[in-house]
Amino acid sequence: MSDEKKLGILEKEYSRRQFLKLSGKGLAGIPITAAMLTLFGCTQQQVEDGKVEAIATPTSLLVVNRAKCTGCQRCETNCTLTNDGKAQPWLSRLHVRDSVVFGATEVPADYMHGGGFLGEWDMGPETCKQCADPKCMSACPASAIAPDPNTGARVVDTEKCIGCGACEAACPWHMPKVDPDTKKSTKCITCGACAAGCPTGALSVIPWEDVVAAANA
């Protein structure tokens, strides 16, 4: 891989940090190599079918592979036990419970041929996209959401948060939630507990240097 291409990923990553969708055309314009497929644990077909999602974080790529998700929902309890000290999947910083039955948050007209437990098993978690232009951050009236200086993740400053829920309303995926106990917004801080505890690797966190090495292979 040329330095120019390598720089392409990193520039897109660090300067604009957009939500990267893997597609048949590649990742951020870089063609998918066999080594990248191995690293992501998916097939070219899964990528072309749009079943694999890649979310850029400052240090890594979070890959969601719906073909591997078995609906156990351990990601949600691990998330809340780690970050909130209690088990409360509804509060989780990624969402799967509302789509495990039908593969989507609405019941499909032809549910038998849809996803999830009642359909044909297509399912997977919706995760925080760590957006380049986060709607949650811009909607916050208290300026409580800002990039963490170490991880770059957009995190909630609980000292500033007033628990109004504007972040949840503004997020296209309604990822943040206001904890009814603390009255503070919760939001993904890219801690990785969800991926570390996923028993099938449907969620995986891949360091950028590994992505670049695989792209270069």
Partner: protein
């Protein structure tokens, strides 16, 4: 409050009222099974029949449920058995997502009582509980019912529903959630009798825990060091680079070259899944090929299962060719015996091919599993299939005697003759219809025997063809074929099949027998574990081992954990000498609740539950003579392999006199009267059950 929510929900279908009460007075019974059993004892008078208005159904989960421990989302439902002699207390254990949703909605238990005048369903969203009209749902199959309710209540709602079988009061009717997760015991008929179609639950609340860091640490410990595959089988079927042993019979089927063949975007290799690698754990159990054979690999989309479970034992198949040919839904999931049970034996003597030569038996089994789940018809661990086979054998000799000619002729026998697999769909639909005499073959084996006593004599209930543990009507479930007397002793505790997996998880672990024996004898004493098919007479070590099996099962059903995987008796790790850790359940209880639970205190609480259940069974039997009226086992257990004697190598048969010794030793371990097997006042009082002892005493049901 940590672990428990401290609340239980009461829904009265007669009055339409709902209320929330404290659950704290039941904490001595842990939760789940223990809590549900005590509520049933307190609120449903002995002598009540299961379909009476006074009959109740209790859903319950324990303090550990919702807290994230691996395999902690099974629901216990307690009620009166519809299908076994005495209609005594019965539990059903259902996986899926119901238990965690109930906990996250804020309830340790849900009590359903009374009877609605018209079809209804109960909709629960946290504190908001409504009884809603279900007129448009009555008559619908289970999966359509889930879809219709979720359109109203939200796609993420967990729906527990009956199908036509429950509505038609078929004693072998179940409830299901998330497709194929079933609770049996006849609970579906009780729902039907109450005009209750479904329970829909959505919860957003927390399960609070005392020590979240400790729970996460325990999760890591269990997943990295202790847990194997389904049934805690700790040896893979095919040698892997890290493994010392291989054993073709285990459920650790995943290995390089074996795939989820129908995964979206191409096959996913199950690969190596060594101990310590949590993110590969879910590939250990390729249950589809274990349950269905090699043919299922190419139809396997993935493995699914219950919330919180990393094992994933639900073979999730998509068979479009079947749907194209028969109209039966292409994708369905179930596990173990439910997979393919109706294609066994002789309901269909031949099978037409569907997609390729020789696939008819697989297709027939898959079709029947899907149809039965959609009807809400329970197989009772194969009993319904065994009963149907008993009546169709010898050119339907018995069936012709019980069915009026017109009903007999209405069955599409031409399809059976042709090997048309949709015959099974027609047959199961007729059984679930509640119309005609055929439906009575789903009354449960005991009631079938009573109904046709003049035709069946004693032979039916005692036959190896039926495979019941005893004439009470419970199916043998890991009985004498599993560790001799030990397995069979775990069966006689219940008023249904045994459901105890503590022992079979050990014998089926895949470890060499000598290694199993050394670990088990270290815990229970010499002679605790016989070599398969090389049995020895009863001894005290076996009695202790059997009691351990039952008590652990009660712990799991009460706190909640899945006894299909727990306890962690063995480990897959060579560096542990393959020894597990039996203290983990108590460690979870302590971390969740913040209370000082130990292995001993947990055992004691679980034994309290069993003492209560035994007392309730004595009340239902109406006699203290449990040895002769309840704990009687089927003749085939002593009479199989007529050319061999008990304790000869090569047979699992037991000896009648030795079995009586086994009962005596088992009774002694539980502190029961050694003659009758009934709990004594001293034992009941030892476990804080003086009120139960007094009630038995008043009825003359304490042993002399």
């Amino acid at each position: 409050m940590n672990g428990w929510t401290g609340k239980m929900l009461r829904v009265n279908l007669t009055t339409g009222s709902t209320s929330v009460e404290s659950s704290e007075k039941y904490f001595d019974y842990i939760g789940g099974k223990g809590m549900a059993n005590r509520i049933l004892y307190d609120e449903v008078p002995a002598g009540t029949k299961p379909l009476d208005e006074a009959s109740k159904v209790i859903f319950a989960a324990g303090p550990n449920c919702g807290g994230s421990a691996p395999c902690s989302s099974r629901t216990t439902m307690s009620f009166l058995s519809t299908f076994t002699k005495y209609n005594a207390i019965c539990d059903a254990h259902m996986g899926g997502d119901t238990a965690i949703m109930m906990k996250y909605a804020g309830y340790d238990a849900i009590i359903i009582e009374g009877k609605s005048a018209k079809p209804v369903y109960i909709a629960i969203k946290d504190d908001n509980v409504e009884i809603k009209d279900a007129a448009s749902l009555w008559g619908k199959m289970t999966m359509d019912t889930v879809a219709e309710i979720c359109k109203v209540e939200g796609a993420g709602t967990n729906v527990v529903t009956i199908g036509p079988a429950g509505e038609n009061l078929i004693p072998l009717a179940n409830v299901l959630n998330n497709g194929g997760h079933s609770g049996g015991g006849g609970i579906g008929a009780i729902f039907g009798s109450k005009n209750l179609k479904a329970l829909a639950i959505y919860g957003t609340k927390a399960v609070y825990v005392a020590d979240s860091a400790k729970i996460l640490e325990l999760n890591k410990y269990v997943l990295e060091d202790l847990m194997g595959s389904n049934n805690n089988h700790v040896v893979p079927t095919v040698a892997q680079s890290w493994s010392e042993y291989e054993n073709a019979s285990t459920r650790w089927t995943g290995h390089p070259g074996l795939t989820w063949g129908a995964a979206e975007g191409g096959p996913i290799d199950t690969g190596e899944s060594p101990p310590g690698e949590i993110t590969k754990f879910g590939y250990r159990c390729q249950k589809a090929v274990f349950d269905w054979g090699d043919i299922a690999e190419k139809y396997t989309v993935k493995m699914t299962g219950c919330a919180t479970c990393p094992v994933r034992c639900y073979a999730s198949l998509r068979v479009p060719e079947l749907e194209a040919k028969t109209g039966v839904k292409a994708a369905h999931a179930n596990t173990c015996l439910a997979n393919g049970v109706y294609a066994r034996n002789n309901l269909l003597p031949t099978f037409q091919d569907v997609a390729e030569p020789g696939d008819g038996k697989f297709m027939a089994g898959y079709l029947a599993t899907t149809v039965a789940d959609d009807l809400g018809l329970w197989d009772n661990y194969g009993e319904l299939n065994a009963t149907l086979n008993y009546f169709v054998k010898d050119d339907c000799a018995l069936l012709k005697q019980i069915l009026p000619p017109a009903e007999f002729d209405s069955i599409p026998w031409d399809k059976r003759e042709a090997g048309d697999i949709t015959f099974l769909k027609d047959l199961l639909e007729a059984v679930a219809s509640g119309k005609g005499e055929l439906s009575h073959l789903a009354d449960g084996a005991y009631f079938v025997s009573e109904r046709y006593k003049s035709l069946l004599g004693d032979e039916f209930l005692h036959s190896s063809a039926m495979g019941l543990w005893g004439p009470l009507g419970g199916k043998r479930h890991h009985g004498n074929e599993c560790a001799a007397q030990v397995g069979l002793l775990t069966n006689i505790i219940y008023n249904r099949d045994g459901m105890c997996h503590t022992i079979v998880n050990i014998t089926g672990s895949g470890l060499p027998y000598d290694l199993q024996k050394s670990i088990i004898e270290e815990i229970f004493g010499a002679g605790a574990l016989d070599k398969p098919k090389a049995y020895t007479p009863m001894n005290e070590s076996k009695a202790k081992f059997a009691k351990f099996g039952v008590i652990r099962q009660v712990i799991h059903d009460s706190m909640t954990l899945c006894n299909w995987v727990w306890p962690m008796t063995f480990s897959p790790r060579k560096d542990r000498g393959y020894k597990g850790d039996l203290s983990v359940e108590a460690q979870y209880m302590a971390a969740i609740t913040g209370q000082a639970w130990t292995e001993e205190s947990l055992n004691e609480a679980a034994e309290r539950v069993i003492q209560l259940q035994r007392a309730m069974t004595v009340e239902a039997v109406g006699s203290t003579d449990m040895r002769n009226l309840h704990d009687v086992v089927s003749n085939f257990i002593f009479d199989i392999d007529p050319d061999k004697k008990a304790f000869e190598e090569g047979t699992v048969k037991l000896d009648r006199d030795d079995w009586q010794t086994a009962l005596t030793m088992f009774y002694k371990e539980f502190g029961w009267d050694e003659t009758t097997g009934a709990p004594t006042r001293a034992t009941l009082e030892k476990f804080g059950l003086k009120d139960v002892a007094d009630a038995l005493d008043a009825k003359g049901l304490l042993p002399a």
